[in-house]
């Protein structure tokens, strides 16, 4: 929908503010531009409605080069919400909201109806607020008016430059929720600037992280949380990272050494091993630690009288395994979905390298929620390994 092609902007020669930016904003998404102050977010955004002209490159909207269009006409079809709201103090709320429809030549009945409809959309009663002046409204209410004013003439594109940053945290949360709710019904293409990563993670379809006029990373909140491109991104997402799945340790980090045996061992020997290790299943590997299968205590019990039987005669296939590079979340899902107690960790070459047990997972979970000093898990949680 909006396409930045090799866009650069330089105010002071030698100090480019935006450097050769290429970015495609898709129809119907909320693309959030985020980055530290002065990284060129506002500049990038203002090039879309031509409040700033690029030094090089072009911007296409629906495939059309905007530098060929009349800026005044262009702007009437792009909603614009600025940080300091910019409501006009000498006009009533209704007059403020109706501005663009009026400029576009709507007739009075239509735009008055539209004003009421929009006020209701953000839970402000038209009867009360229509005739008020902006300075009679709270900051949060004014910002709502700023947002609906941008939507008044139903533009397909809306630009929002740190629209909620001046608000208290509660109003900010509310307005973010409202924006998401509105977006579900009206489905605009929104370019949203913020420096608040929590806000970005909450509302973005995709996040474009800028630094010194370059894109550092572009992706969904999920992608950015899971795979930060570098330390700058990691720093930037900071504490939010801890709340993501990606902050779980890897499988390689949490797996334990497996209790294994060889295929040609006898059942008595196997029973001794299981008793010593307090496990009810043995993983059977060959000399190269290739996983051959498993033997359970129950099978051994049933055939124990027959001294000729070896472990290889009781082998069962291992249905579920994970690889060391898989995410712990996957391991968690398999364990809970199939109600199993452990998962062998096997390399791509079928080499058994470890095992994930329920108790490993308890450790990991607990570490995320508890202070390690509050409780020593090794002592409290009984060590019931490899019970299948």
């Amino acid at each position: 929908m909006i396409e930045f092609q090799n866009i650069s902007k330089t105010y002071k020669p030698g100090h480019p503010v935006v450097k050769n930016l290429n970015l495609h904003v898709n129809k119907g998404e909320i693309l959030v531009l985020i980055g530290p102050s002065g990284c060129g977010k506002t500049t990038t955004m203002k090039m879309v409605n031509r409040l700033v002209e690029p030094t090089a490159g072009r911007i296409l909207i629906n495939g059309e080069d905007i530098s060929m269009q009349n800026p005044v006409e262009l702007r009437k079809n792009i909603g614009y919400v600025i940080q300091n709201i910019g409501l006009l103090p000498h006009m009533t709320i209704a007059e403020n909201v109706a501005l663009v429809p009026k400029l576009k030549g709507w007739n009075k009945a239509d735009y008055l109806q539209r004003v009421d409809e929009l006020l209701r959309m953000v839970n402000l009663s038209p009867e009360i607020y229509r005739r008020r002046y902006p300075q009679e409204l709270s900051g949060g209410q004014q910002q709502r008016i700023g947002v609906i004013r941008a939507m008044a003439a139903d533009p397909p594109i809306i630009l929002m430059d740190e629209p909620f940053s001046a608000l208290d945290p509660i109003s900010r949360e509310q307005l973010q929720d409202e924006l998401l709710r509105l977006q579900e019904t009206v489905s605009k293409t929104i370019l949203f600037v913020t420096h608040d990563i929590a806000e970005a993670l909450k509302i973005a379809s995709r996040i474009c992280l800028l630094k010194d006029g370059d894109i550092v990373q572009l992706g969904t909140p999920e992608q950015i949380l899971r795979h930060p491109a570098n330390d700058f991104v990691r720093d930037f997402i900071g504490e939010n990272r801890l709340r993501s799945e990606d902050s779980l340790p890897t499988i390689a980090e949490v797996m334990k050494p497996p209790v294994t045996s060889r295929p040609n061992r006898g059942l008595a020997e196997a029973t001794m091993l299981m008793r010593k290790q307090k496990v009810d299943t043995l993983l059977v590997v060959d000399a190269n630690r290739q996983l051959l299968g498993k033997v359970t205590m129950w099978d051994i019990h049933n055939r124990f009288q027959n001294e000729a039987i070896l472990l290889k005669d009781l082998l069962r296939p291992v249905l579920y395994k994970v690889a060391p590079q898989d995410s712990l979340k996957e391991a968690l899902q398999i364990i809970s979905r199939h109600a199993i107690a452990y998962l062998p960790v096997v390399t791509d070459q079928n080499e058994l390298v470890g095992v994930i047990t329920r108790s490993c997972l308890v450790d990991v979970m607990a570490e995320r929620w508890l202070d390690s000093e509050t409780i020593n898990l090794q002592e409290v949680v009984p060590h019931v390994d490899q019970s299948a």
Binding site: N49, L51, V72, E73, L74, R75, K76, N77, I78, Y80, I82, N84, I85, G86, L87, L88, P89, H90, L99, V100, L103, R132, Y133, Q135, E136, R149, L159
Partner: protein
């Protein structure tokens, strides 16, 4: 003396009325001209800010010329009568209006202008719908200052044949007739007080913050 004042008022009622009317005419015409020149000039200067300082500086120089001297300059240039008086009074009223128009518009919150531009207003629409309404209170304050100034200086217009209430005052001075002086001075003072009050009220009403209290 009060009785003679009443007598004078009664005897010269028509003269006083005529002089007041002339005074009002001088004031309003000069004021209108000053507005017609200074407001567009002030707007223009906000579009050419480099020129603002020299232009406002020149009008400030006019202002520092003593009013009597300025009227005196008019005689060799335009002779005597109403026209040179009006020209001099207009020049006198320029500065406060020009300065306040410029200051009022340049002082408009840039966020409001950016919002307007971003919504697709032309620069003329921004002027009419945002800049002028938001600067109106400050412009009105300039107009009020100019009006009070002009009403006062207009009493001197009589010296170059411009007529007005000054006629009565100067005739009274020449004849050492205090009631006659007062017959000119009192209406002149009343006019100034009236304009000041009326414009102050208007100015208050035009402040964006007070719109709601209508």
């Amino acid at each position: 003396m009060w009785t003679s004042l009443l007598e004078i008022f009664a005897a010269r009622f028509n003269d006083i009325l005529l002089a007041s009317w002339e005074h009002l005419q001088l004031t309003l015409i000069s004021l209108l001209l000053a507005n017609l020149i200074a407001i567009p000039a002030g707007i223009f200067l906000t579009r050419r800010r480099k020129w603002a300082e020299p232009v406002i500086g020149v009008t400030a120089v006019f202002q520092t010329i003593p009013s009597l001297a300025l009227l005196g300059f008019m005689i060799p240039l335009l002779g005597i009568g109403k026209i040179p008086a009006i020209v001099a009074l207009t020049i006198y009223g320029l500065l406060p209006i020009l300065r306040n128009t410029y200051a009022g518009i340049t002082g408009v919150n840039p966020a409001a202008i950016e919002a307007g531009t971003g919504m697709g207003m032309t620069s003329l629409q921004i002027l009419w719908m945002i800049e002028l309404p938001m600067a109106l209170a400050i412009i009105m304050a300039g107009v009020r200052t100019a009006t009070v100034l002009i009403v006062g200086v207009a009493t001197l217009a009589a010296l170059i044949g411009g007529g007005g209430l000054g006629e009565l005052i100067f005739r009274g001075i020449a004849m050492a007739n205090s009631p006659l002086i007062l017959a000119g001075a009192l209406p002149a003072a009343a006019l100034a007080v009236f304009f000041d009050y009326a414009l102050k009220h208007l100015e208050y009403r035009t402040q964006p913050g007070n719109l709601a209290k209508k």
